[in-house]
């Protein structure tokens, strides 16, 4: 594996008395797709918020390309080449596609005046690149008028604009149609082929199994399993493992029902 893009060491996060994360170690190398899975309440969202700089950890170290960082924030995270496509897409729905793509990263010239034409040209190029084009909308279209898949396209376009080295996809296939899911998968492979990395978070373990090079299973704020793809034979094995972690004693009859839920 190549260079280590980001590494979390013994990250803890508590909200009052409650520990959301109790000492998590996680790293992502260049060019790999890491699948992060875990039950509801396992701490996935908190971990993503820490990686994207929205939430500061209570303790622990964050290393970007081997160097410890201080003053970690959302702006710092983006500057370090980490882009996040949040589950709720984090779009301003009353604004245009252009304004959403350049949110927090406006293309400005003299004294902060916007380079409007350049923004439009870049937005058009990005939307074409990932295949989210249509005769019905333009870079000036209001995001609130777009479908769920199209909104996902805007969020992804925003993430790839600055040639990010690590793209975090939080539940990117939730509420998408089969075609749109296929597009997201194609996009993930494209990013990996270009030598960049992806952290793929999913509820659907079959989706994660199909796409990831390495799996990290989170359970109640701790990493329960880290496994390379070669070590795991099937998605069912992952599902069984997660159930064993969640219910160490084993619940009879649960394994049969699990496949429907996945």
């Amino acid at each position: 594996m190549g260079e280590r893009i980001i590494e979390l060491r013994d990250i803890k996060k508590s909200y009052g008395q409650v520990y959301a994360l109790g000492g998590v170690n996680l790293s992502v190398d260049r060019g790999e797709v890491v699948g992060l899975i875990g039950d509801n309440g396992a701490g996935k969202s908190t971990l993503i918020k820490i990686l994207s700089g929205v939430v500061k950890p209570t303790s622990g170290d964050i290393l970007v390309r081997g160097k410890p960082v201080s003053g970690w924030s959302a702006a710092r995270s983006r500057d370090a080449g980490i882009e996040t496509v949040f589950q709720d897409r984090a779009l301003a729905v009353q604004q245009t596609i252009v304004r959403n793509i350049f949110m927090g990263r406006e293309l400005t010239g003299f004294l902060g005046w916007l380079k409007v034409n350049k923004e439009i040209a870049e937005a058009s190029r990005l939307m074409r690149e990932i295949g989210f084009t249509s005769k019905v909308f333009t870079p000036h279209s209001i995001v609130g008028q777009l479908s769920g898949g199209e909104r996902q396209g805007v969020a992804i376009a925003r993430a790839i604009y600055k040639q990010a080295e690590l793209i975090i996809l939080d539940e990117p296939t939730t509420a998408l149609s089969l075609t749109e899911t296929a597009k997201v998968f194609h996009f993930v492979r494209q990013v990996r082929a270009s030598g960049r990395s992806i952290l793929f978070i999913g509820h659907n373990i079959h989706h994660v199994f199909d796409i990831a090079d390495r799996f990290v299973v989170l359970d109640r704020g701790k990493v329960a399993l880290t496994a390379d793809r070669s070590e795991v034979k099937s998605a069912e094995e992952l599902i069984n493992f997660m159930e064993d972690v969640a219910h160490p004693g084993g619940l009879p009859g649960l394994h049969e029902g699990a496949e429907q839920g996945a």
Binding site: A92, Q95, R99, E106, G112, W113, L114, G144, L178
Partner: protein, 348 residues
């Protein structure tokens, strides 16, 4: 789902299908239609204004063709414009500022003190601007970093600052008799070709602010923060700083407005700015900026201010008694809101 988004399982990205190579195209490429769609709120406000003026002129053609009527509106309107425009930013950002009347009074008081002490009025203007900036920062910090509701906190600050003015001045006004001979007066408050010169400054301010709103990072971030503060934060925007900045902008606008109002009257009153609270707020919403944040229009707000300031003059000039003014104020506000409601869709 649109045609172009339909399944193409062999090649989900549509690379070779030719679909992606096509350029963007608007449903209607005609520039006029695009212009109308992009500016529907301010054009709606303009339509309200034109209809209202047509009714007034039809009611009393002779009065409405005399220049004096317009001249008097053009003298007082600029004062309102300097606060309406920053308030469009505040409302777009999802906040409200009710403290601007006291800021107007406070900043113009500083101006009056400096001029009365015999200094050049330009120095007084600079001092007023500094005062407005500081008060805006104070109010903004209180709301943003104190985590208070802007509606209540700014109302409280309005009372508090006005109270300070009253306590210190004990109701006494300050006459500035030497102001008329100064360069500052000639530049900011005289007449040019018979037109009150304030209106040129106000129009320049509106144009500058409209560019700031639509073509500057500040405006872009104000809209995003008002639209979805969580997303703005996730994308690395300093949401709190943007919020403080809109209050600072209002403070600066209020300082300019207060200074202009003193220059018109040659006198500073401890109540300076008080009468502007409700007309200015009404102008913002009559202008087509919705209450929920994220979108707005600076030019619409300016037209709203023109509309509101013509109601009072117009009702009286049209031959109705002064008792009708409030009724028509309310009527125009309600009709405008209904119009904008129909004209604008709210996306969630």
């Amino acid at each position: 789902m649109s045609k172009a988004m339909e399944p193409d399982l062999q090649n989900p990205l549509g690379r070779t299908s030719g679909q992606a190579a096509k350029e963007w195209s608007h449903p209607s490429n005609h520039w006029l239609r695009g212009f109308v769609l992009d500016n529907r709120a301010s054009l709606g406000t303009l339509a309200v204004f034109i209809v209202m003026m047509a009714v007034f002129i039809a009611a009393n053609p002779t009065v409405f063709t005399t220049w004096y009527l317009y001249s008097s509106v053009l003298t007082t309107l600029p004062v309102a414009l300097f606060v309406v425009v920053p308030l469009v930013f505040v409302v777009t950002c999802g906040e409200i500022d009710l403290s601007f009347p006291a800021t107007m009074g406070f900043a113009s008081w500083v101006f009056a003190l400096v001029v009365q002490a015999g200094y050049d009025p330009f120095l007084g203007i600079a001092a007023a601007l500094v005062t407005g900036t500081l008060l805006g920062f104070l109010v903004g910090s209180l709301v943003v970093y104190g985590g208070l509701s802007s509606l209540i906190a700014t109302l409280g600050m309005n009372f508090l600052l006005r109270g300070l003015i009253q306590i210190i001045n004990e109701g006494k006004s300050t006459a500035l008799t030497n102001l008329a001979d100064s360069w500052a007066y000639a530049i900011f408050s005289s007449q040019l070709w018979g037109i009150p010169v304030q209106i040129f400054w106000a129009v320049a301010f509106v144009v500058f602010a409209a560019l700031l709103y639509n073509r500057h990072r500040f405006g872009a971030q104000v809209k995003v923060v008002g639209d979805n503060p969580d997303s703005a934060k996730q994308m690395g925007i300093d949401v709190k700083l943007v919020r403080v900045k809109v209050f600072v902008f209002t403070g600066i606008g209020a300082a300019i407005a207060g200074t202009f109002s003193v220059m018109i009257n040659f006198t500073w009153w401890p109540t300076a700015g008080d009468g502007y609270l409700l007309p200015v707020l009404a102008s913002v919403f009559v202008g087509g900026t919705p209450t929920w944040g994220g979108i707005g229009t600076v030019v619409g707000g300016a037209i709203g201010a023109v509309t509101v300031s013509f109601i009072q003059t117009g009702v009286v000039a049209a031959g109705l008694s002064g008792f009708y003014v409030q009724f028509f104020n309310g009527l125009i506000i309600i009709l405008s809101l209904l119009g904008h409601k129909w004209n604008q869709a709210r996306y969630r």
